[in-house]
Symmetry: C2
Subunit: 468 residues, 2 copies
């Protein structure tokens, strides 16, 4: 409590300065109280944060938690127990049926040149079918795009198609580089299956040149069963080596084997915790991330970080006696990675129950140092309002506040005039770990995670107070 | 080359947008060419950067390189060889005598409560004397400040003084937290020696609660020889445990032993590489970091990062055919950590030779993702000019451009009206590794390091073109 008063004293000076600056830039003075509350939320997160230890627990004691797995079920129970212990006003599970894909045995791959065998770091892509039991072996055709593969057409028959377009490293925002490549992973098999290829291998979706294969979702769309071929990701080191060796030996043979399969849909849950609104209990602000993760790592940055930050937002409100006007919900969405069933179910239920959703905030870009927020609103009016908070948030590193994609899980809520916001941490390291075995707790910095939670709590506080 | 033209085409569009935006905010249109050059420097660093592999080499093959050590000499030769191979116009060594402190045998420490022995992670502070051969043992007085220790005065006689004021975690910029605590490390022994204490132990200078002791410089000032006492840092985990146990057992005894010593000053060098200016060859812009590091880790973030970034700045100019108007110098300063002799020598020689130094830029805050620059100029005129480049630099995460401390090594150049600039990366992770055994190559992210080099190259380019 002492600290609270000290904080107030210090930040009256601070916020006066801030208000003056704001008035000059935006011609819109920021209420002095807001600066104090925001600063207090940051102080609180940085000195009394609990999210880091929750994340240690989730990632170390449960680990990877792919939809339908026993670990995903453990994570559901973990989230329900945690929010119950935190004495949120209401905690419940929202049932949802999810896809249930299993990796099976560890994959194998290699190629041979001049009798030298090169082992390849490989993993099946989520949703892929298995290879025949003894694997597949064939010549490789390297392509850089779906269009190039389409154009080759029948020339691909009996071959393994190797999608090798790398990330564009000149893009400062790494999500843009990902966006520019991920069609190869998602659609490579769908596009080439009709040409009778043996299988598809895709360069891992990362800027990093290392030996981790990065998994992720792929899909067959509505192609016939007999056109479906196995698809896998190989590490960037393996991709570079294979590409190099193919130049010298265009007829080299590549072998891979995987035994993954899709089982019947499984029952699972979104986990929801609530703080009831003091003025508008039937109007909702959702803050969330996704509870499922890929199986190779422990889902620390993707998206354990977003999960613990979302719960932390509600805890910070409670801890500091901030009564939200609208009902706040922390939602731990199930199945973002390979189906988005949780996000769809949440929106479906909201619509069915005529819930009035004011805003939703998602954290699904890792637990890195804060950079800003992206806003997806219907008419651009609320994004202008949120941008006017820039000078209040800039002292915390939150400079990049612009319109843009907010989040996958909250996306389905767009059926109504809701304001969607995405928390945007620094993106430089994200794809080093994304969907790979090295997405583990030790890659998360405590302060960066806590600054993210405080950034989100501040955004929720401002949305709760100013959004109409 | 193809990429260069593509970059130009893309960035004519981009820079037009940028210019328009700038004109509105600063009433000072930025030359379209500058946007293109800056973007090109970033593209070049991110796709053709060499600094990351240089850093791997320096940290893995030489490692820690404290002034006067054989490793420091190896680092001098490494820097000279590298800049010679890069065919800079001129590469030379500037002799400087440096302090030569050696750690000796691994330190030992523990305390005992109820017959249970608690081992303590400890390291001697740089510049400290040794304990007697068998160590020292005594009761502990915990204090939170130099003033508190001074006030206790004679009550400290025969005791070990334990400085335990922690970092203020509410400070977003971690260097401020460091600045608020480091007087305990630097001055603890100096202040308490006169009271006949047995020794001084200091809580490690870090936000992180872990078991790494963090070394760093301490000094005795001009106190008499017989008042000098040994000083060491203990890990934050050990500090928290000791503090807790002292509450229950105020008379517990603490033991530590260290065998460090200060040898006679040793010969060493600053390593300097030059690109000759096309218009003002006798006017200098310096870009540098420090080549020495503490001995416990490999000096990766502190300051191997600054070293390779500084060399990379000149390489990026050469690689892209950008002819600097003024002479650019990459300076690998020796002895920042425990003496600043390299920085002082460089300024002394500059003065003696009547060199005209226009500006100097230092990177000594780690190889993390870019945040901005701090500017230390004589009259505030150039800092206004530099701040006017904000909208040009903001797309690269460089938002925080303000007056402030620029860098230790370049500080002594302030005898003339020079503009000093400090590169400011994100500070959240810096003190996890600072002066500790975990400051190793694996903690550096390639893109973050490269973005820093490109940020610095852009700043040097703008200084070279616009500073008067």
């Amino acid at each position: 409590m002492k600290h609270f008063f000290i904080a107030i004293i210090i930040f009256i000076a601070f916020s006066s300065f801030n208000s003056a600056k704001t008035a000059k830039i935006n011609e819109q003075p920021i209420n002095k109280t807001d600066s104090i509350v925001v600063k207090h939320l940051f102080n609180s997160a940085l000195t009394n944060g609990e999210g880091y230890e929750w994340l240690r627990d989730l990632t170390s004691n449960i680990g990877g938690r792919l939809s339908g797995s026993p670990e995903a079920q453990q994570a559901v129970e973990w989230g329900e127990k945690l929010m119950t212990e935190l004495e949120f006003d209401k905690v419940w599970l929202q049932p949802v049926m999810v896809p249930h894909w299993v990796r099976g045995e560890k994959e194998e791959a290699y190629f041979t040149v001049d009798k030298i065998k090169y082992d390849v770091a490989i993993c099946a892509l989520g949703g892929s079918i298995a290879t025949p039991k003894n694997g597949v072996s064939g010549e490789v055709v390297e392509v850089n795009s779906l269009a190039e593969a389409e154009a080759l057409g029948e020339k691909l028959r009996g071959k393994i198609v190797f999608f090798n377009r790398p990330f564009d490293d000149t893009l400062i925002e790494t999500f843009k580089a990902y966006g520019g490549c991920v069609d190869q992973r998602g659609g490579g098999a769908k596009v080439t299956g009709k040409f009778g290829v043996l299988g598809v291998i895709v360069r891992s979706m990362t800027n990093s040149i290392d030996n981790f294969p990065h998994t992720g979702a792929m899909g067959y769309g509505d192609i016939p069963e007999n056109e479906k071929v196995p698809a896998a990701a190989i590490s960037t080191i393996a991709a570079n080596l294979l590409s190099e060796k193919l130049k010298e030996n265009p007829t080299l043979k590549f072998y891979f084997k995987q035994s993954c399969e899709t089982l019947p849909d499984a029952p699972s849950f979104n986990v929801i915790g609530e703080l009831t609104g003091s003025e508008f209990p039937n109007e909702y602000i959702t803050v969330g991330g996704h509870l499922d993760s890929w199986d190779l790592g422990d889902g620390a940055h993707d998206d354990g970080a977003g999960i613990v930050q979302s719960i932390e937002v509600l805890r910070l409100f409670k801890l500091n006696g901030i009564k939200p006007k609208h009902t706040l919900r922390a939602v731990l969405f199930m199945n973002e990675e390979n189906g988005l069933r949780g996000g769809r179910k949440y929106a479906e239920e909201a619509k069915k129950n005529n819930e009035n959703h004011l805003a939703a905030l998602e954290s699904d870009s890792g637990g890195f140092t804060p950079r800003g927020f992206s806003i997806d609103d219907a008419n651009g009016k609320n994004s202008e309002l949120i941008k006017s908070w820039k000078s209040l948030l800039a002292p915390y590193g939150l400079h990049d506040i612009d319109r843009g994609h907010a989040g996958s899980d909250i996306g389905p809520l767009k059926y109504e005039a809701i304001t969607l916001v995405g928390y945007r941490p620094d993106s430089q390291r994200y794809f080093d770990y994304h969907h790979a075995a090295n997405d583990t707790f030790d890659k998360v910095n405590k302060r960066e995670l806590e600054l993210g939670a405080a950034s989100m709590a501040s955004m929720v506080y401002l949305l709760d107070n100013y959004l109409e």
